[in-house]
């Protein structure tokens, strides 16, 4: 499995560390407990198909990536810098 890091190019997956679903980019804005926080912390989808995940390129550029991966075929379809995704208001 290789991940196309936007900075480093195609790299072997051993250079990366998996974090989880990319919900980490959608932290609820308010500090009070709410259904949004419950969902943010506890609830995850389990999709059969494309899903966005956070991967850390720790043995490479050190950047956080949002990787779009198909859980059925294991195809890695895209990778973007998380900072760019977050900056775009996603």
């Amino acid at each position: 499995m290789r991940i196309p890091c936007p900075l480093c190019g195609d790299r072997d997956h051993r250079e990366f560390t998996y974090k989880g679903a990319a919900v980490a980019l959608d932290r609820p804005g308010n500090s009070d407990w709410s259904d949004d926080w419950d969902s943010y912390i506890h609830l995850r989808d389990n999709p059969a198909g494309d899903t966005d995940e956070m991967w850390w390129h720790g043995a490479g550029c050190g950047g956080w990536l949002v990787v779009t991966r198909n859980t059925v075929t294991h195809e890695v379809k895209a990778a973007r810098m998380a900072a760019d995704v977050k900056g775009a208001g996603a």
Binding site: L7, G9, R14, E15
Partner: protein, 178 residues
């Protein structure tokens, strides 16, 4: 005041020559990490030291005075002490004592590295002046092609002995295949 003896990171371990590959320690001079400040001008590096601030995966300059991309939003200035004019444009940290730098050379150098790094090292893909942060064995490091059969490798200083050992094992392994 005690008089301390400075030792290089790989003192007593290199040079090593096996088959068509040779490993030697490189004295890098001063290593300074440069991270562009918001609103800073990366062109300040060119003005002060004559080499461009490198794009991701690239190194600029030449032996003795290089700028090597070292991660997202960061490059190492290797060789000269940083000009004071850079302060306004980069966050800088002296890392000179933090790294062990090794030179791997010879016609088998690429094959040796191929046993340690998950990189495409073919000459048309990883050219002179290309650099990568990647794994060297199980260590994170920096690999820069400085010549047709010549690579500069950097690992954390604490990993120097392990790096030399693993590279030597790879050199022997390649040489044994003839």
């Amino acid at each position: 005041m005690a008089s301390l003896i400075a030792k290089s990171p790989c003192a007593g371990m290199a040079p090593i020559s096996v088959g068509d590959a040779a490993l030697r320690e490189v004295d890098p001079g001063v290593i300074t990490s440069l991270s562009p400040l918001a609103g800073g001008d990366v062109g300040a590096l060119k003005a002060a030291h004559g080499m461009a601030f490198p794009a991701p995966g690239r190194a600029s300059g030449k032996a003795g005075a290089r700028a090597v991309w070292s991660g997202r939003g960061q490059a190492f200035l290797i060789g000269p002490a940083p000009d004071a004019a850079l302060k306004a444009h980069f966050a800088m940290t002296d890392q000179s004592d933090g790294w062990a730098v090794l030179g791997l050379e010879g016609t088998a150098a690429r094959e040796v590295l191929a046993r340690l790094c998950p990189l495409d090292l073919r000459p048309d893909r990883f050219k002179r002046g290309h650099t990568a942060r990647t794994l060297i064995g199980h260590m994170t490091g920096s690999v820069t092609r400085v010549g047709a059969d010549s690579f500069d490798l950097m690992v954390f200083r604490s990993m120097a002995q392990t790096a030399v050992h693993e590279i030597e094992e790879a050199m022997k392994s390649v040489a044994a295949r003839g």
